[in-house]
Every structure is written in C-alpha cells, then in structure tokens.
Amino acid sequence: MLEIKNLTKKFGNKTIINSLSIKIPTGQILAIVGPSGAGKTTLLRCIIGLENVDSGEFFWNGHQFDPTNSDPKNSIVGAVFQNYQLFPNLTVMENIILAPVKVKGVATKLAKDEAQKMLDQLDLSGKENLYPYQLSGGQQQRVAIVRALAMNPKILCYDEPTSALDPDLRKEVAKLILNLKKDAVTQIVITHDMEFAENVADEILKVTPIK
C-alpha cells in the first residue's frame, strides 16, 4: 500500500498542494482529476520525485521512502510521461533494456527476453529494432509503459495518458491499465478526462486550485 501523509508543496509563496494525504492499496488505481492549474502535474511530480516537497512523508507497505532518492535499490515509482520521452537515439529494444542492464546489471540476454515478452503482450512484436520516430503515438506510449515496467516499479504513474490519443486508442489504454491491475501493479493516473478516470479508477481524487 502506498501512503502519502500531509504533502505540502509551494512555489515561492504560492501553495500548490496543501497538506494532502492519500492511501492507495496495492494493485489499485487512483485517478487524479481536476482542471488545468489545479496542481495535478505538480502532485505527480512530487510523487515521482522530480519535485522536492515542502513537507510530507511517503510510505510503501509501512516503510518510509524518499521519492527523490535516485538509489536504484529504492526504485518504487515509475512513470509514463505525457509525451512519453522515449530516447530518440535508441531503438525500442534499447530504450527498454538500457536501465535494467546499466542500472540493475541484468544480463543483456535476459533483459531482452523479458522485454520481448512484454512487447509481445502489448502488440508490439516486430517493432524491437525500430526507432521511436517510426512508431505511432499509441505505440510510443506502450513502449514507454514497457520501459517503465522493465524496472519493476511498485507504482506506475501516468501523466495525461489519453491526451494525445484518439478515442479508439483511449479504450486500448484503459484496457492496458486494467490488465496491469491484474498483475497487481499499483497505478496513479493524472487526467482531465473524467470519463476515462471513471472507467479505470478504483478511486478518484479531485483536486481544485487553491485560492
């Protein structure tokens, strides 16, 4: 279970998040919804450790952790960015196995086998040696998901996963997220798409701008 206690984040004098507490049981999906400027992305960036928090504590299964700690052993959170941020100079396969091989020291052969399994599951067979620019947006997103999963995060976060996709692909992503739930991946989805949130989430957190 992920537990966040009294998270506060300010930019200068402006409070973006005020003493927010969240609990997500393992394998559940939390959707964070709200209008632009409500601090959804800031909240996500705090959870994935790209922003320092002003106060607040993070616990995974009762053990406190620091999301900004980049120690590979502390790899609790993974993320899929809005524009995926695949590395354009690396092929699909290289994108996925870079971190497992270089950071975790997994043997290349083993990492490739694992990656191939996930690629096959996500309908990306045969794309291993393509570069990101040769893929559609939906395919890039699935590669980004595989890349994040390859580091075995306990929690996977998505920033606006549907914003760049057409309606058919939105359903595909929803299906994908629900499938990962079956594998007990805890997931946090930032979206302004209420319908999508209702389709996938066990719980919906509405954030509003702080006046």
Binding site: L50, S70, G78, P88, N89, A99, K102, V103
Partner: protein
C-alpha cells in the same frame, strides 16, 4: 610545366604537412575544450558564466589575425614568449574553443528537459544519462555546425603566414615570388580544395550514420 610542378611539389607538400598538423592539433584540443566550456555555460553558477561569456565575446568579437599577432608579437613585450608554432596553436585553440563552446551550449540546451527527467526516473546515473542519452543527441544536433567550423579551420590555418610559419600558403607564395609564375598559387588552391573536399566527405559520411534516427 610538369617538370616544374614536380620541382615545387615537395615544398608544397611540406607546407601541407604543417597546415594539417595545426588543423589536427587544434581540433583535437579545441573540441573537447569546447564541450567542457559549453556544459559549464549551461550551469547556474553566475561568476564562471560571466567569465566564460567575456572570453567568448573577445574571441568571437576580434579578428583571429589580431589574436595571432597579439600572442606572437604582442605578448613578448610583457615577457611572455612562445615559439611561432606554439603561438599559432594557442591562438587557434583559444579562438576555436570559443566557437565550439557556443555550439555545444546550444546543443545541450536544445535537449528537452523531459529526456533528463525520464533518465532520472529510470535511475540512470548522471554519467549514464550523459553517455547514453544526451551525448548522442547533442552530437547529432551540433554536427553540421561543428563541420562548418572544421572546414573554416582548414582555411583559417593559412593565417599563420603572418607570424612566419612555413605552411602551405607560405610555400606557394615563396615559389611564386621566386619563379614569377602563378602556378604555385593555383596548386595551393587545389590542395586546399582537396583538403576541404575530403573533410566534407568525411563529415557527410558521419552525418549519414546519425540519420538512422530522428
């Protein structure tokens, strides 16, 4: 005529050797130096940035010829004496490193921040991020500009003439003055063209290899 060409060719090739040695040594030192200064320019530490920007302003804002003359003829007045060859190398390295540092600064700054964040989330170390993510992307971005400067350098190297170094241009000029014929200067032009053509070809080949991804 062929006889004459055969006669002066050894002198011209000797000059070419000097030209190439200045070219190669300048590149080998100025490019890494430019990378280092370029990365430093993206840092947030103001005093060093100010210092570097002043250096770049002077190097890019005054003629290379002046810098060359200043180092070889000017500095001895302050008791700092370099050999002709070393003075030429110092001038070229300082001048070209300034241009390269601006090129590399631009290269590093044009990589989206998300790439670095993405690498951080995958727990790649700073060095790994530089090695596998940033460097290849920056390399591709800066290649055309670095190529331009490289070709410029071949031609700029002829400026060492003014401090009396026996480069390709001087070898040609000496022969022209001695034998009262245009041929040596035409040959010099042809040799410069061959050098730039080879460099252009190599640069194109490297660029082609980076074009497999976008």
């Amino acid at each position: 005529m062929l006889n004459y060409i055969q006669q002066i060719l050894p002198a011209l090739l000797g000059g070419t050797k000097v030209t190439l040695s200045i070219f190669a040594i300048t590149l080998i030192i100025a490019i890494p130096l430019g990378i280092l200064l370029g990365v430093t320019l993206t840092s947030k530490f103001k005093p060093i940035k100010w210092l570097l920007n002043t250096y770049i302003l002077i190097m890019r804002g005054t003629p290379l010829l002046l810098q060359l003359i200043f180092i070889f003829y000017g500095l001895p007045l302050l008791g700092i004496v370099f050999s002709r060859y070393n003075a030429a190398l110092i001038a070229f390295i300082l001048n070209y490193a300034a241009y390269f540092s601006e090129i590399f600064r631009g290269g590093f700054q044009s990589i989206p921040k998300g790439q670095i964040e993405s690498a951080k989330l995958l727990r790649l170390s700073k060095w790994q991020t530089l090695r596998y993510v940033l460097a290849p992307q920056v390399f591709k971005i800066v290649l055309p500009s670095v190529g331009n400067e490289t070709i410029n350098l071949i031609k700029d190297s002829s400026l060492v003439y003014v401090i009396g170094i026996g480069d390709l241009l001087r070898a040609g000029n000496v022969a022209t003055a001695r034998d009262v014929t245009l041929l040596p200067l035409i040959l010099v032009g042809i040799i410069y063209l061959i050098l730039t053509a080879i460099t252009t070809y190599i640069l194109k080949a490297i660029e082609k290899r980076t074009n497999v991804w976008r």
